[in-house]
């Protein structure tokens, strides 16, 4: 049984260079005079789908075999893979799921960064797959797991993954091919030779010495740690709040001072204090949602954020503009009646909003603005808009939001002592409020329907209802058209009748 082909399965996404990696391995094997076969199933997968390449190498040279020809298979078999190369975390998971990684023989080299599948991206809230389980499964089931995340390093991020993979393959000991053949294969291909050789070297290090801590994978879904508050704006937050909530409250205070002013931050602090004595998780949840709600997005906020120096600096990095390269930035703004009435003084704003609703224009009448924020003219317009901040507390939307916030907080404060679970569910409903324009309108309507249809009845009854609110909230996030929420609300007619009141 020692004479059997060494097998390599490569899982990649279309357009990621899995074919080139396969060609390199095949070329290296041929240079070593080893019989080799490779196949793939590109098909439609070349259009961004998941795809695989499969290589078999016989560990005895053609010369030594004389005329004998090993039999190569076209399909990878579960339990039969010596080296599994996965270009992304989910693809490593797929390989595990299909039984291609087994403790008796498989070296699994996987890049564990994330390229999200459409279903993950398109979710209305957070649809990202929990890849920490994939990492755990990889560690448990691979004979030799080599898991790394190149996107964590500024330099490694730029390296071509397939060349790194080739280095790992060359160094991990799974293939019967000497290193120089891989190098020769890269040189022979003649494309980006130096860059690929540098990436190959990194791969060699990963395969030989293991993955350094700075390239170990991190859970993309884990919440980011909050930086310690640089200044305590108000009192001693840490002493007053449970530890889970304290950092969030600090962040909230900072956010609202930045959003409006110190007085508004103080209002936030006073509000959040009402739940300070509650269970830490609940307090944290309220603190988070309250800060976000109070810093609702209006055109003033957008203009403010879009005119800040740090925004332009960040953008330049993101779009990879080099030093000295001028950048023209075009903003796509399309304010409608909602956006305008939001920042008008109370009465005027309310009147405009009511008129828009009456005439059915709220979702129809929009003003298309393509604004060049890198020009003096365009920037100045945004800048002026941002300076309306001072008048925000007098605006129509400000009044509407504060009223809704108070109602929400009251509901939480009333229920928390007897049912923290219900209070938590009510608090989480604020997560539905986000976005702009139609998105915001949809979220707000959903929130209002749930508040009227489930929260208020629960308050009246004084018990139960947490489960129903959770279900409704999930339904609201299930589809953008609100079908699921309609169905969920209709599920209990008695309460729907109340919602209609």
């Amino acid at each position: 049984m020692s004479e059997r082909p060494v097998t390599v399965l490569i899982a990649a996404l279309g357009g990621e260079g899995g074919g080139v990696l396969t060609d390199w391995i095949v070329d290296a094997a041929m240079r070593a005079d080893l019989p080799v076969q490779a196949t793939s199933i590109p098909g439609v997968a070349q259009r961004t789908g998941a795809t695989t390449y499969y290589v078999e190498i016989f560990p005895a040279t053609n010369a030594a075999l004389g005329g004998r020809r090993p039999l190569f298979a076209l399909y990878p078999s579960p339990g039969g893979i010596d080296l599994m190369l996965a270009s992304e975390a989910l693809e490593a998971g797929r390989a595990l799921e299909n039984g291609f990684v087994t403790p008796d023989r498989t070296t699994l080299a996987a890049a564990t960064h994330r390229i999200y599948a459409v279903v993950e991206k398109a979710a209305m809230a957070d649809g990202r797959f929990d890849t920490s389980h994939i990492i755990a499964a990889a560690r448990a089931l691979a004979k030799q797991p080599i898991l790394f995340d190149l996107t964590r390093g500024a330099k490694t991020r730029e390296m071509s993954l397939n060349a790194v993979m080739l280095g790992v393959a060359a160094a991990c000991g799974a293939l019967p091919i000497a290193r120089e053949h891989f190098v020769a294969a890269i040189r022979e291909a003649g494309i980006a030779v130096e860059a690929n050789l540098a990436a190959f070297d990194l791969g060699l290090t990963l395969g030989e010495k293991g993955v350094p801590p700075e390239l170990l994978s991190v859970d993309d879904r884990a919440p980011r740690p909050l930086e310690a508050a640089t200044q305590a704006l108000i009192g001693n937050i840490r002493a007053e709040f449970p530890p889970e909530a304290a950092t969030i409250v600090e962040e909230g205070v900072r956010r609202l001072a930045d959003y409006q002013d110190l007085a508004y931050a103080r209002l936030y602090f006073d509000r959040v204090r009402r739940v300070a004595s509650f269970d830490g998780e609940l307090a944290a949840c309220v603190a988070r949602n309250l800060a976000l709600w109070m810093s609702y997005e209006d055109v003033i906020r957008v203009a403010d954020l879009k005119t800040r120096p740090e925004r332009f600096a960040k953008m330049r990095t993101e779009i990879r503009a080099r030093e000295g390269e001028p950048v023209t930035v075009t903003e796509f703004l399309k304010p409608g009646i909602d956006e305008v009435s939001a920042i008008l003084p109370r009465r005027l704003g309310a009147a405009l909003e009511a008129w828009g609703e009456r005439r059915g224009l709220a979702t129809k009448l929009h003003l298309t603005m393509r604004l060049k924020s890198s020009n003096i003219n365009g920037f100045a317009r945004l800048w002026l808009l941002a300076r309306l901040r001072r008048w925000r507390p007098m605006s129509h939307r400000f009044a509407v939001e504060q009223k809704a916030i108070e109602a929400w907080l009251d509901a939480i404060a009333r229920t928390a002592p007897r049912s923290p679970e219900l209070a938590r569910e009510i608090a989480e409903c604020a997560r539905l409020l986000k976005g702009y324009s139609d998105t915001h309108r949809r979220g707000r309507d959903n929130y209002r329907r749930i508040f009227a249809g489930a929260v208020l009845p629960a308050l009246e009854r004084g018990e139960g209802g947490a489960e129903r609110i959770r279900r409704l909230r999930q339904a609201a996030l299930a589809d953008p058209d609100g079908f699921a929420l309609d169905r969920a609300l209709a599920a209990q007619p008695r309460e729907t009748a109340k919602a209609a009141e």
Partner: protein, 714 residues
């Protein structure tokens, strides 16, 4: 074609005793030339596009040999070209993707098979079945049987492929029937090697002209000749084929020590069978198995005495036959019964009736066969233990991962010009309600997948419009049909448009004019301009007008707002009739392939180049992902929210962005969100650019300082 295949063409030139190293489909192409083929035709499609692409680039070589190559307008055209072999001693080959291509070709194929051939006629079909397939799952087998076309399913090894292609021509000529050779996806893409032979110049062809046309009424498909032809199939061609297959030993017998059992397999599955046996300790690395194997390189017709000889004296034989119906298993059972051989045939009992026979499936199937047959000298306990161990590891992985890993179906490429059309349809549906969409074959079929989920039926290539004709009258709102330019020229113009115009069919047709047959590898079409490099032989707009379509609106596909307005108009305008929107936008893959080297060169020479891409301000994005649901662009993705207070990931444009502009168009047309921005980066800026940037920069910085001061004061 935008790609060049010079390297591959060089492989086709190899002569006697040289080593060929390359893909299976290329070996097949080489096999045709070595067999003295006189003409080659076909229609592109995975997994056999490569044959067409390489021959398109091999004109000098083909001219030297006197081989005529022409891509057909569709598979029916390709099959029709084989008519040359009916009257003349010309070897011809046609290639396409099956089963769909065979469907399109079937009219011509039936007539070809009825008339019979003098010159060898070989049909190479890429059997697009199983993982990686893009079409309906059916086998070519039934076609072969019903038309008396012989079907080969070669054992997957380059040398065997090439030898059997020569045999296929001989078989065709010996039996006067066309021969179909099927190659599965992995076999087409397999990289292997073999020793080549010299290419053979065809006896009749461009360099050796025919002197006069042949006329023989017996070759015309019209009664009474058709009756004679049917009889000829049975009386002469079939026996001739059987005799040839037996004489030339096209099927292979592999002996084995455990001869109370055996395995009969389709040639294409031989390696999978041998590997499964090796995994179970019953074969070595060279394929020498302890269980006898009959490898059927010809799966139709079956040579009964070969089957009987193999099965006689065996208690049980496993019939490994992929797909359904189980023609081979039924045939083997029937002919053993007739020969009064009592061997038990096991097939679909242990192997699945439907689906691809992957290594996994084969291993389980062979394992179950052995467990049932209980042959002497086989350690069934060890086999059972191994199978259980593999299953255990798999379920352990699934348990640890916790939930099925999300599927990653194919989708529109970054910057694809077809995506905006579906964004527009989604937006129109918000206003007018859901619309029935008759989808078509092409890249645009991906609209049926998330995030668009648009398209209620798919009936075939170019059949989008025809497939709306029945359902349209049953809706009070108009129905939208989709067609690509590939589908339009393949079948859509004649089957769809002419009929719809003639019958006054009321509806909306959207034609994706991306300039190529893109899904199959950007092959040229009559209307291809290749960014101005080619003058089209016909335009879609003119063709539509000539068919009598009055309402035709060509427009830029990326202008979502304009597209929404035009769709709305087409859907709601009064008066019946066909309304056609031509969505113009070049295939981004082809476009990028062409412009990238030009841009690189311009940058290197220091010329001013403006690079455009889009971005999302993560500070203003609230993580609702409406934009993603309206676009699905691979470069529009999500990333962890940098805001410590927010939990939902934010939208993010990665560096694959080609600046097509859809994000901005959608954000505008759907009044989505102010987070998108467009950045035009001036590379190699000139003095004016630099001066302007400096002035703007200092003015903006001055304003920024003032707002900082104001905020600090507050």
């Amino acid at each position: 074609m935008e790609r060049s295949f010079t390297k591959e063409v060089a492989l086709l030139r190899k002569g006697n005793g040289e080593m060929f190293e390359g893909e299976g489909i290329l070996a097949i192409t080489k096999g045709l030339l070595q067999a003295g083929v006189s003409y080659v035709t076909g229609y592109q499609g995975a997994p056999v596009s490569h044959l067409m692409d390489v021959l398109s680039d091999a004109k000098p070589l083909l001219d030297e040999l006197g081989v005529h190559f022409t891509p057909a307008a569709n598979e029916a055209g390709a099959a029709s070209m084989l008519a040359a072999s009916i009257n003349y001693p010309m070897r011809g080959a046609a290639v396409w993707k099956s089963t769909v291509g065979t469907n399109v070709a079937s009219d011509a194929l039936s007539n070809l098979a009825s008339a019979g051939v003098i010159g060898g006629a070989v049909i190479v079909v890429g059997e697009d079945y199983g993982e990686g397939a893009s079409i309906i799952q059916e086998r070519a087998h039934a076609f072969a049987m019903k038309s008396s076309i012989w079907l080969m399913d070669p054992r997957p090894e380059h040398e065997r492929f090439v030898d059997l292609i020569a045999e296929a021509f001989d078989l065709s000529e010996a039996s006067h029937a066309p021969v179909m050779m099927e190659f599965r996806i992995r076999a087409c893409h397999v990289h292997g090697r073999f020793r080549t032979k010299d290419n053979v110049k065809p006896a009749v062809g461009k360099n050796h002209m025919l002197s006069e046309p042949d006329f023989d009424y017996a070759r015309i498909c019209l009664p009474p000749a058709t009756y004679t032809q049917e009889k000829d199939k049975i009386d002469n061609r079939f026996p001739a084929a059987i005799d040839f297959i037996r004489r030339r030993k096209l099927n292979e017998f592999f002996t084995g020590a455990i001869d109370e059992i055996g395995i009969i397999c389709q040639g294409g599955l031989y390696n999978t069978v041998a590997r499964a046996l090796a995994e179970l300790g019953l074969a070595d690395a060279f394929g020498t198995a302890q269980v006898p194997i009959l490898c059927l390189n010809v799966t139709y017709p079956l040579v009964s005495d070969e089957i009987v000889r193999f099965c006689a004296g065996k208690r049980a034989v496993l019939m490994v036959e992929e797909g359904n119906p189980d023609y081979l298993e039924q045939a083997v059972n029937a002919l053993l019964r007739k020969a009064d051989v009592n061997t038990t045939i096991v097939g679909k009992g242990v192997l699945p009736m439907a689906g691809e026979y992957t290594a996994d499936v084969m291993l389980t199937g062979v394992g179950r066969f052995l467990e049932g047959a209980v042959p002497r000298g086989v350690d069934l306990v060890a086999i059972g233990r191994r199978l259980a161990q593999l299953e255990g590891w798999k379920s352990e992985a699934q348990r640890l991962i916790g939930a099925p890993v999300p599927k990653r179906p194919p989708g529109f490429c970054t910057g694809c010009p077809e995506r905006p059309v579906f964004s527009a349809i989604k937006l129109v549906e918000r206003e007018l309600g859901k619309v029935h969409v008759a989808a078509d074959i092409g890249c645009h079929t991906f609209s049926t997948l998330p995030p668009f989920n648009i398209g209620n039926s798919v009936l075939g290539y170019g059949l989008g419009l025809s497939s709306a004709a029945g359902v349209a009258p049953a809706f009070s709102t108009r129905v939208i049909s989709i067609m690509g330019d590939g589908g339009f020229w393949h079948n859509g113009l004649s089957t769809g448009v002419s009929g719809a115009a003639f019958n006054g069919q009321d509806g909306v047709l959207v034609i994706m004019n991306n300039g190529y047959s893109s899904a199959t590898g950007q092959q040229y079409l009559p209307s291809t301009t290749a960014g101005g490099a080619r003058s089209p032989t016909a335009t879609i707009e003119q063709a539509l007008k000539n068919m009598g379509v009055k309402w035709v609106r060509p427009l830029r596909s990326y202008g979502v707002g304009h597209m929404v307005r035009t769709l709305r108009e087409a859907l709601t305008a009064t008066g019946a009739g066909l309304r056609v929107i031509i969505a113009d936008g070049e295939c981004q893959l082809a476009n990028q392939r062409r412009i990238r080297p030009l841009i690189r060169k311009a940058l290197q020479s220091g010329r001013r180049v403006v690079r455009t891409r889009f971005g999302v301000d993560d500070a203003t994005c609230t993580g609702d992902h409406s934009c993603i649901r309206l676009s699905g662009c691979p470069s529009l993705t999500v990333k962890p929210n940098p805001d410590p207070l927010r939990l939902d990931p934010v939208a993010h444009v990665n560096n694959d962005c080609v600046g097509c502009g859809l994000c901005g168009e959608v954000a505008d047309a759907a009044a989505l969100c102010p987070s998108f921005y467009r950045a035009d980066i001036v590379q190699n800026p000139n003095a004016w650019d630099r001066w302007l940037a400096r002035v703007r920069g200092s003015a903006i910085a001055w304003l920024q300082r003032r707002s900082d001061a104001a905020h600090a004061a507050a």
